[in-house]
Symmetry: C2
Subunit: 142 residues, 2 copies
């Protein structure tokens, strides 16, 4: 369901949400702790900046950070930018003609859970997720 790239991007954004408090942090200082190759992460961050899910400034003392607006985005926004809309909406077997009216055998079995997952990814903001970590209700290991 999620590509490696999306996972990396999500980890990076969560890391920023937790560790940069409006401070700019450079790729290296994100990629190292979250265990993602630096150059690769740098590349992933570009579309996120372009789509305004992440903020950045160039030059010395530059780096990445999240502003208030960024913090109010949801995880699904990240996935949309990195993996694209189709992957999110495609049926579990990738059957084009599978839909509510003509569901494939897995469809009914999974619709509810699937919708739940998508709803959660859609509605919880990055800020909320970071808050959970700060409160000790969640963790960001590795």
């Amino acid at each position: 369901m999620l590509s490696n790239s999306s996972k990396y991007a999500i980890k990076a954004v969560l890391f920023l949400a937790i560790h940069s408090n409006n401070k700019r942090v450079m790729v290296k200082d994100i990629s190292d702790p979250i265990n993602v190759p630096q150059a690769y992460l740098a590349k992933l961050l570009q579309p996120l900046v372009k789509e305004e899910l992440v903020s950045s400034v160039r030059g010395p003392k530059g780096g990445f950070y999240l502003n208030e607006e960024n913090l109010n985005h949801s995880v699904i926004d990240i996935i949309r930018v990195i993996d694209g809309e189709e992957k999110l909406n495609s049926c579990m077997l990738s059957l084009e003609k599978c839909n509510e009216e003509k569901p494939c055998p897995l469809h009914n079995m999974l619709v509810v859970s699937r919708k739940n997952i998508l709803n959660n990814l859609e509605n919880r903001t990055i800020k909320e997720l970071a808050l959970a970590v700060e409160k000790g209700n969640a963790f960001l290991p590795l």
Copy 2:
């Protein structure tokens, strides 16, 4: 979450469950209707035969089919054989150290739905899924 290979394998098994009623059907006659390259599917079927999720006989009049035992397996068995156990159990962000005690921010949000999906994949048999199609409650398009 699911590789293309797993999707193909599931489609093939469901196709067999619905269309071969103990009749042997050759790869070509599976691959064509389910829209999967023949040689690729042939290759995918081998591990399924080896793990006794699918039955086969060689030679003229040979082909693939599902016996009673095969029909009582579940979709998750197919995924296990093709994609492997790890993919199924790994956390959404693939954090090794993410678990019930130290959940990542996505974990809590998704555990319930996730467990539901896995339970369903585990408990519904191929036979049941095929039955749903025969009864017109589900469809297998493409």
